[in-house]
């Protein structure tokens, strides 16, 4: 660039004039070249440093523009998917409405059998058409398979349609940080997965050493800041930011006690218990540090200390994850820690099964100097609830004791012993791992039950009973996999709250239920579809049970000839029905009584008696005015009495039907049900199918409305994007592009001044005294 050179005052010389002239010409020419480059390239800047601030701004703008151009691609690609989805669906609601017409015209006596058969054929074609629509592909993607885009979502399976997709959504960026959903899954459009067989039971997984902090509080996790632990004199600040699991927190606290003290943290099934060593006295307090909330969220906030503890932590409620062990559900195992002073010698004993059986059993040491380390013996007294380990004080190590306990044939059936991983010094500290002969421990904390893994559960689908054997399953995921891989077409998953599991059906058009397989597995897991709390109003696809009121709905004919007259008008749930039977004043004589209960296998109400009288056959008989016993499943539909009781080893059993089948609520179910009802001349069924069709039509229409609004949203985004790109491009242009008018004016100006400079220089340079002498 041209720069001004000061003219020095005193004297000029030939070389100076020459150099100045050259510098001046050089600078003018470089200015000209610069402008010429600007004009020919259209860029004001050749290198970013020509105008650093503008260049840096321009780089930012270019980056944004690059991203926007990808957003544009995203929008147009996904517009195409959405409109393909929309056009695929455009026929569906018409088809469903047409089928509704077919159904309505077939209700009543006016329709002949032939007409109904023809209608049924029509419905079947519609079903096939709908399956084809559901399986529609666009640009290699199955439009309705959720996020499993390469799966074929709907598969006709005999008289059922199975959904192989999922409810996953696909999304894409509509702006730098704005995601939009780019698909409509088969379930949300057609209804392809049933409502959950409610996992109403909180499986309440036990807190384990390796439970991740992120899984606590139902998956919300905790604040990983610091906590301050004080004995009233000294305070220790424990930073848990690096802790990953609850075990890390325990180790961190135990390794950083207030100066000179020992802090013991024990892990209970639900939380942490913290205490100071009793010998030192003091008042244990646990506080937050700064704005943190770690102590509160760990459930151990204890601002005002009074004694050495223990501070009993509150429930940390870990969520269920894929890797949660099945043995950690539904209950806790009794445990105790035998803590000796020193490092690496605390022994943890944990029961093998959930439940309170071991609670209160005391474990202590008896010092007998004669024992060689490694030869320790164990004495178990079940009545006195004591376990005594005979040791050689000062010689027997913690590992010796652990081995002795784990090798004792009696106690190793009850619990497992190991060395605490939190006692500082673990793995074994050779200098202090001898146990203290006076240390003791008492089992506590055992509660709940052990999951019945032996029985398994039954899933009834499409008339098939599938027994799910979970005896080999170790983790929740194993259990879910067992259910998901069964031919029942079921979908099992952990519920959103992380408290239990849900089992749902992926098979449209058929009944679906989850029942017991002789044990209590389904009930314990909270997935049984027919329980004592099942509402009568929900039975038979929500058509309910209809007591006549004021009179017996059915009679249970006992073998001793006495009839139990059951009036259901007060019953709301299955449990109420069972209680009505079991608590009937007439039915209290144990020799002849009839017991009602939920079926041991599958679902339904089961009536049993061990009465050996033979005055009358054991049966359930309708009160002619009431169909309640049919509706409860005790009597076959259309029949007057129950099927003959099954006799087995002195017990007679009447097994009722499962009258609370679940089904997928959607278009495929509606069509399959309609077709079946038409072929069976089942008016009630046709009417129900019409209701299902209405629901399905509404759902499809809602899905289309959703698609439409999303497409509209994309259109708006596209318009916004275009104007944004224009604005960005113009800003970028302002930063780096040549302003032609200015540049050309500059060029002309420079040219003129250069010409003038050349002329003047030539003249001046030529002037010399020598010309005149």
């Amino acid at each position: 660039m041209g720069s001004l050179l000061p003219v020095t005052g005193s004297r000029t010389s030939q070389l100076m004039v020459q150099q100045r002239l050259l510098a001046q010409l050089g600078s003018d020419q470089s200015d000209l070249l610069n402008i010429e480059t600007q004009i020919s390239t259209g860029h004001r800047l050749t290198l970013p440093s020509d105008d650093a601030p503008a260049a840096v701004r321009a780089l930012g703008l270019q980056g944004l523009l690059n991203q926007k151009s990808q957003v544009k691609t995203n929008l147009s690609t996904n517009q195409s998917y959405l409109s393909a989805t929309d056009s695929a669906l455009s026929q569906v609601s018409g088809l469903l409405t047409e089928m509704r017409g077919v159904a309505l015209s077939s209700i009543g006596t006016l329709a002949s059998n032939d007409q109904r058969t023809a209608s049924a054929d029509q419905v079947q074609q519609a079903l096939e058409q709908l399956v084809n629509t559901g399986n529609q592909q666009f640009r290699g993607r199955s439009l309705f398979a959720g996020s499993l885009t390469s799966a074929t979502p709907f598969q006709i399976n005999g008289q059922a349609v199975q959904y192989n997709g999922n409810q996953g959504s696909l999304s894409s960026f509509a702006d730098t940080n704005l995601l939009f959903k780019t698909n409509a899954d088969g379930d949300s459009v057609f209804g392809a997965i049933s409502a959950a067989v409610q996992g109403s039971v909180d499986l309440n997984p036990v807190l384990r050493d390796d439970t991740p902090l992120a899984d606590l509080h139902g998956g919300k996790g905790i604040d990983r800041s610091s906590i301050a632990i004080s004995d009233g004199n000294a305070t220790s600040v424990v930073d848990i930011s690096k802790a990953q699991s609850i075990g890390d927190v325990i180790s961190l606290i135990q390794h950083q006690p207030p100066a000179g003290r020992t802090v013991t943290v024990t892990l209970t099934a639900t939380g942490l218990n913290i205490s100071l060593d009793a010998a030192g006295g003091g008042a244990l307090s646990i506080k937050e540090v700064g704005d943190g909330s770690a102590a509160y969220e760990l459930g151990i906030l204890h601002e005002i200390g009074q004694n050495v503890g223990p501070v009993i932590g509150s429930d940390l409620n870990p969520r269920i994850t894929d890797t949660t062990s099945l043995t950690d559900l539904l209950g806790t195992r009794a445990n105790t820690t035998i803590a000796s002073p020193g490092n690496g010698n605390d022994i943890v004993l944990e029961a093998l099964t959930n439940g309170p059986q071991l609670n209160g059993i005391n474990v202590s040491f008896a010092n007998s100097g004669a024992i060689t380390p490694g030869q320790e013996t164990v004495t178990y007294n079940a009545n006195a609830k004591t376990i005594v380990v005979n040791i050689n004080a000062g010689q027997s190590t913690a590992q010796n004791i652990v081995d002795a306990l784990n090798n004792d044939p009696q106690v190793n059936q009850l619990f497992q012993a190991k060395i605490s991983t939190h006692d500082p010094g673990n793995p074994l500290d050779p200098n202090s791992s001898f146990v203290d002969a006076t240390a003791t421990g008492t089992f506590s904390g055992g509660s709940g039950i052990q999951l019945d893994q032996q029985s398994g559960l039954q899933i009834n689908s499409n008339g098939q009973t599938n027994v799910i054997d979970i005896s080999q399953a170790k983790t929740v995921q194993d259990l879910l996999n067992k259910i998901n891989s069964s031919p029942a077409g079921a979908l099992a998953e952990i519920n959103a709250q992380g408290t239990g599991i849900n089992v749902r059906s992926r098979t449209s058009g058929v009944d679906f239920s989850v029942g017991e397989n002789g044990g209590a597995t389904a009930t314990q897991l909270g997935v049984r579809s027919f329980t004592t709390t099942t509402q009568l109003a929900d039975l038979n696809y929500g058509t309910s049970v209809h007591p006549i009121g004021g009179a017996a709905d059915f009679i249970i004919q006992r073998k001793d000839g006495i009839d139990l007259k059951i009036d259901l008008s007060s019953a709301k749930t299955i449990g109420d029905v069972i209680n009505l039977i079991n608590n009937d004043p007439i039915n209290q004589d144990s020799d002849h009584s009839v017991t009602a209960q939920l079926s041991k296998f599958g679902n339904g109400i089961e009536l049993t008696t061990t009465d050996q009288s033979a005055i009358a056959p054991f049966a359930v008989i309708n009160n002619s005015a009431s169909h309640a016993a049919e509706e409860l499943g005790l009597i076959p539909v259309g029949s007057h009495t129950s099927l003959a009781a099954v006799v087995s080893g002195g017990t007679e059993t009447i097994t009722g039907r499962d009258v609370n089948p679940n089904e997928v609520n959607g278009a495929f179910t509606a069509l399959i049900r309609l077709e079946k009802a038409l072929r069976n001349n089942d008016d009630v069924g046709i009417q129900r199918a019409v209701g299902l069709l209405d629901n399905a039509t509404t759902q499809v229409n809602l899905a289309r409305a959703d698609l439409g609004s999303r497409q509209q949203g994309l259109d708006t985004l596209q318009t916004n994007l275009d104007s944004e790109v224009t604005a960005l491009t113009s800003s970028l242009s302002t930063e780096i592009d040549t302003d032609m008018a200015t540049a050309i004016t500059d060029l002309t100006g420079k040219q003129t001044s250069f010409q003038a400079a050349l002329q003047v220089a030539a003249q001046t340079y030529r002037l010399t005294l020598l010309n005149y002498i």
Binding site: S13, A23, P48, A52, V56, Q244
Partner: protein, 561 residues
């Protein structure tokens, strides 16, 4: 007093005028010679003669021919030359860097970065299409090779600068030898003279040499009584009288440095081309390179952290870690891995291709520093405990994980420890700096392994959302800066540095030119001035000749008597 005395006087005067004319001629002849210092004839009245009571002048005497030079100004000029040479060199280095990054054309690193994440967006748009994933893999390769190429070009610049430094060192040694030689000659030429600056031609040569040397290093020149110069620079005398010390480029582990050959002490210069070159090589280009290395490292590690917790359309039958530990029995955070591993865990999934079911196992990486910290051997044991998985560590410390059943594939998830990213398992990028950055061969062989899913093999696109949004993702390890901000910072700093270096250089250029003008004002030849002098000498000659003619006439008169 005699006529012949007068004749002698006139002849002296003629001589003086002739010498004057010769110097004028010399000045005119060198009017355009760079480095030439204009000369003046130093006239003094000739010694007087005392004849009787009269003291009479004996005309003029030429005392010597001297240079018109302001040595203080020359010293300042040399300083300015040093500064400018240094600034120019640095500005040039910056400009080279700028031209490499070529960001303004929208073809630089920013473009490859956004192209790469854009291709991830495309995967998000069409997760089922393997060819789109293939494209994403290729874009990843383009990005890596762009960064590789950039660092190679920078290397070339560094090599070039290094060779310039060594040739500058040779120049310094040559010039100091030359100056020392000239010192001797000048001392000899001026020996016994009571005025200075008489060894004109030699001094001109030395002046040029000094200016050349000043261009290379900043020098402090002190003229000695004998006419020689002592040059003090870089913490010692470079030239003293006829002694010239040599300097050399000595290689050490920390890098190379300039030292005096004889004593080995540091040749510590603060200006001049050599300083400019050293700065350009070590600070400007070297700094850019280390920033680029950090950038590549951050890019690879942060992207891999996301990628390694995801699953592709296919799982792995066998996977071998890209990185290796030095000690399989050392805690993982001290096992010699280049990327950090922290206390945490990851999930090992076994995906059954037939039943499409997944079996998950938690692998803990306990690095809380309190109890037994996890080693690679421990991880291997945990993996081997999973039925269907076999893991082993080879002699070099690479971890290999195999599925023992053909219908079961391996996949990985939820890595909170950074184990997978550090070991290079299920990663996208490989390498730890700009030179070694590349795309994992597993991905190159099977782009379907690009880990877009988070819910299992081929299950969803949740991880893809994070991968596609990577450019704008705040990174914990970088104080919540995004990778784009890191990139912009590198480019911004270079641009800003370049712009500053250029303005410093052009400021120094003006300063130097103005000093040069001042110097030329003192030492440069002005033709008109010389013409005036020439006329003066001419008329002086003519007048003296006239005196001789008059004397001759007077003599003739006397002879004819």
């Amino acid at each position: 007093m005699s006529l012949s005395t007068t004749l002698q006087l006139a002849s002296n005067s003629l001589n003086a005028a002739q010498i004057g004319l010769q110097v004028v001629g010399q000045n005119i002849a060198n009017a355009n010679t760079p480095g030439y210092v204009r000369e003046d004839v130093n006239y003094v009245p000739a010694p007087t003669q005392r004849i009787g009571t009269l003291t009479m002048g004996m005309g003029v005497q030429v005392n010597g021919i001297v240079q018109n030079i302001d040595s203080l100004l020359e010293q300042r000029l040399r300083g300015a030359v040093s500064d400018q040479a240094s600034a120019d060199t640095q500005a040039q280095a910056y400009q080279q860097l700028e031209s490499f990054t070529s960001e303004l054309n929208n073809t630089g690193l920013a473009k490859s970065l956004s192209d790469f994440t854009a291709s991830m967006s495309d995967v998000l748009n069409q997760p089922e299409d393997v060819s789109v994933r293939n494209l994403a893999m290729l874009k990843g390769q383009t990005l890596s090779s762009d960064i590789n190429q950039l660092t190679n070009r920078i290397d070339e610049v560094r090599t070039g600068l290094s060779s310039q430094i060594s040739s500058a060192v040779n120049d310094i040694n040559r010039l100091s030898r030359q100056i020392a030689g000239l010192n001797v000659k000048i001392a000899v030429a001026e020996a016994g003279d009571h005025i200075k600056n008489v060894a004109v031609g030699l001094r001109d040569q030395r002046g040029v040499a000094l200016k050349d040397l000043a261009k290379l290093v900043d020098i402090n020149v002190q003229e000695q009584p004998d006419g020689g110069v002592a040059i003090y620079t870089g913490g010692g005398f470079l030239v003293y009288a006829d002694q010239a010390r040599t300097i050399e480029l000595s290689q050490t582990i920390a890098g190379d440095s300039l030292r005096f050959t004889d004593t080995g002490s540091l040749f510590n210069v603060s200006s001049g081309q050599v300083t400019g070159l050293l700065n350009a090589r070590d600070q400007i280009v070297g700094g850019f390179q280390s920033q680029l290395d950090d950038f590549a490292r951050t890019l690879a590690f942060e992207f891999n952290k996301l990628h390694s917790s995801g699953q592709g359309l296919n799982g792995y039958q066998t996977v071998t870690s890209q990185s290796n530990v030095l000690d399989a029995n050392a805690p993982l955070d001290a096992a010699g891995l280049s990327y950090p591993i922290v206390n945490g865990s990851f999930k090992m999934q076994l995906y059954n291709k037939t039943t499409k079911l997944t079996q998950t196992t938690n692998i803990t990486v306990d690095l809380n520093g309190l109890d037994h910290d996890t080693t690679l051997t421990d991880v291997t044991a945990q993996l081997n405990a999973i039925s269907g998985v076999s893991a082993s560590i080879d002699v070099n410390g690479h971890l290999t994980i195999k599925s023992t059943a053909a219908d079961q594939d391996l996949a990985f998830a939820n890595d909170s420890s950074g184990f997978l990213a550090s070991m290079g398992i299920n990663t996208f990028f490989t390498g730890t700096n700009a030179r070694t950055l590349g795309v994992n061969q597993e991905i190159v062989k099977d782009p379907a392994k690009i880990a877009v899913s988070r819910g299992g093999v081929g299950a969803d696109t949740d991880n893809g959302v994070d991968l596609a949004g990577f450019l704008n993702r705040p990174l914990d390890s970088q104080n919540n800066n995004t990778i784009m901000q890191l990139h912009d910072r590198i480019i911004g700093e270079t641009t800003q540095g370049s712009s500053e270096a250029q303005s410093v250089a052009s400021g120094l250029q003006v300063f130097q030119t103005s000093l040069q003008s001042q110097s030329l004002a003192v030492s440069g030849v002005n033709i008109d001035e010389e013409a005036v002098k020439m006329l003066t000498f001419q008329s002086s000659f003519q007048a003296s000749a006239k005196v001789i003619a008059t004397i001759k006439e007077l003599m003739d008169v006397l002879i004819q008597l």
